[in-house]
């Protein structure tokens, strides 16, 4: 279904929406009835409640054709719907989960700030208690889906003197007084996703909007990211597969030295390496999904999957450009879009280096046999 949807609805517009930096509402509206906005969400709230393997396959197939919308789904499902399902109160689930799951509303995850990226504890945003409310001030940047998001998880601190102790997650709805969508980022890839900054100026939010308890924000963020990384890994696998698809096609079409590129051994060697890397990244990703479904600790496997799949996407797309030669550097061929899109998967939802820290920590934590 996801493959068919991507082929019929996304393939015809992928190039155009990237060039125009346009969020394709006409295609996005068709995703809700297919349950793509609530892939793993509980049935009770309208979700499909699939296992994580199915989740990865859906994200991969969408990203294979259009990485920007793969990103929309990976973020919406992985780091918004999932933590609300996990940490939300019944009231929060009824209020926020139901419209997110149908796709009526779109979710975003706001952690990064101008001075806090990988170093999450450096956030400067604050949520000061005032009666039954918090007064929230925040300047969040690089917010995926930011330009269209209706329900956002904002990471802030209820204790500006001690960010670590006060680190908390708060649910915010677009349009409340003091809420502002900043400028859209002029990114090099994923251009159909409206990544933006989000500014909160003295926003008054009821205490019932707190996701998890006060001081539990880091736990919420890490659980969301551990889970989200599987989705981003699947997205990277999709981009890599898409880059391989278009490279295979081109190698069979283009004639140089009187034979198709595919008949040159130098090209075959590249294709073989690309195919092997994609398959390895896919299996590492599905392994992380399997570990999650089994209920085991996810941090190491999901960090490994994301690290390897992100690198694979970049490497495979770059090799794809090489196979295309000069045409690979032109906007007339889709490989350059894959090349630009791939690079982000090594940066967002934890850079490669952050994944390495997580992986090393997990390895060193293990006792000796």
């Amino acid at each position: 279904m996801a493959r068919q949807f991507a082929k019929t609805e996304l393939a015809p517009i992928a190039k155009e929406i990237d060039e125009e930096g346009r969020f394709p509402w006409e295609a996005v509206e068709k995703m809700g009835p297919l349950n793509l906005f609530g892939i793993q969400a509980p049935r009770q709230y309208g979700g499909a409640e699939t296992d994580s393997i199915s989740y990865c396959l859906v994200i991969e197939e969408i990203s294979r054709v259009c990485a920007s919308l793969g990103l929309l789904l990976a973020v919406h499902n992985g780091v918004v719907v999932h933590p609300i399902s996990q940490f939300g109160t019944d009231e929060q689930k009824a209020r926020f989960l139901s419209p997110l799951v149908t796709g009526e509303k779109i979710g975003a995850f706001c952690l990064t700030e101008p001075n806090a990226g990988s170093d999450a504890m450096a956030i400067e945003s604050t949520a000061l208690r005032e009666g039954d409310s918090y007064i929230v001030n925040a300047n969040k940047i690089f917010v995926t889906n930011g330009g269209v998001a209706d329900i956002l998880i904002i990471f802030t601190s209820v204790d500006p003197g001690n960010v670590k102790k006060g680190f908390s997650a708060i649910l915010v709805e677009r349009g409340i007084s003091g809420f502002e969508v900043g400028l859209l980022e002029n990114n090099c890839g994923m251009r159909a996703n409206p990544v933006s900054s989000i500014i909160l100026n003295d926003c008054r939010l009821p205490k019932t909007n707190l996701l998890g308890r006060e001081g539990e924000g880091f736990k919420v963020a890490m659980a969301a990211l551990d889970n989200g990384r599987i989705g981003i890994a699947a997205q990277a696998v999709g981009i890599a597969q898409g880059a391989l698809d278009v490279s295979l096609k081109y190698a069979k079409e283009r004639i140089q030295f009187r034979v198709h590129l595919a008949q040159h051994q130098a090209i075959q060697l590249m294709l073989a390496d690309m195919g092997t890397m994609v398959e390895a990244a896919r299996l590492l990703t599905l392994n992380a999904a399997h570990v999650k479904d089994r209920g085991d600790d996810l941090s190491g496997p999901s960090a490994m999957a994301k690290l390897f799949a992100g690198r694979t996407a970049s490497k495979v797309a770059s090799m794809g450009v090489q196979i295309h030669g000069g045409y690979g550097y032109s906007k007339d061929y889709p490989i350059e879009r894959y090349f630009r899109d791939a690079r982000a998967t090594e940066i967002y939802e934890g850079t490669n280096e952050i994944q390495q820290i997580v992986i090393a920590r997990e390895l060193l934590k293990r006792g000796e046999d």
Binding site: M1, L34, N35, L36, I39, A48, E49, T50, S54, V58
Partner: protein
């Protein structure tokens, strides 16, 4: 209204591989899908069920791998799926296939309508529907685009030789379907529920109580003697001169080839 829809798993056009010893198709799950014309038939069945209630059974003959298309049909709204599978069924031509499908339908029992896709994108014979109607001694209407009516009688629209024909038929009957309904995609919930709520019945030669001489190669009236790929030759001619001259040359070439009659 009880409807049986016959479906076939076909191989994607650019992935066709032929076994050189048997001249039969090599199937793989990844590049196979439900014959698009059968999807129109299934969609027509789903609409009829919506209007008149009842049930939809989907039926296919093929190797175990053909189960894939039955799961897809279940996700799209069928209530029951039957796979007719036996190594002895392989190499069946359309006649033997119709016999096996007929035996399957006799075992399913009750039905008001049998719907088949008008043709398949691989074999492209358009014979199985009409032959199945013969096998079951049913009235047959080909290339139906629209079906209306209650249990007692169906009003069927078909386009033939530039005319829109309206036909009436009493059930039970067989229609081959040519409508070009937009085909829905199943939602994730539909897919999940299919795998948790349904199973597929698999019947072999003995289950069908079928005559081994009427299936596979022994039961086939035709067989493939040879198979060679064909290539389409295209050539490109550049017209010379200014626009007026080019237009003149083009016009004379079109007239010469009798393309402007």
């Amino acid at each position: 209204m009880d409807i049986i829809v016959c479906v076939k798993q076909v191989v994607a056009g650019d992935r066709v591989k032929i076994d050189p010893s048997t001249y039969s198709l090599v199937r793989s799950a990844e590049f196979s899908y439900i014959n698009p014309f059968d999807l129109f038939a299934l969609e027509m069945a789903v609409q009829l069920k919506k209007e008149h209630s009842g049930s939809i059974a989907v039926l296919t003959m093929g190797p175990k791998i053909s189960e894939e298309v039955l799961w897809e049909a279940l996700a799209l709204g069928a209530d029951r799926a039957v796979l007719l599978s036996d190594p002895r069924f392989s190499a069946s031509d359309t006649l033997a296939t119709s016999y096996v499908l007929g035996m399957g339908i006799r075992k399913i029992g009750r039905f008001d309508l049998i719907l088949c896709g008008m043709r398949t994108t691989d074999g492209d014979t358009a014979q199985v529907g009409p032959q199945l109607a013969e096998e079951l001694d049913l009235p047959c209407i080909n290339a139906a685009e629209k079906v209306e009516g209650e249990k007692g009688s169906f009003r069927i629209e078909r386009v033939s030789d530039g005319f829109r024909e309206i036909l009436e038929v009493s059930p039970p009957a067989l229609l081959t379907v040519a409508s070009k309904t937009a085909v829905r995609l199943p939602s994730l919930i539909d897919i999940q529920d299919t795998f948790t709520q349904y199973s597929i019945d698999c019947w072999n030669l003995e289950d069908l109580n079928a005559d081994p001489n009427k299936v596979g190669r022994p039961g086939s009236g035709t067989w493939v003697e040879g198979l060679t790929p064909t290539t389409q030759k295209k050539s490109c001619v550049f017209l010379e001169g200014d626009a007026r001259q080019q237009a003149r040359t083009l016009l004379s070439k079109l007239i010469e080839k009798n393309l402007l009659s």
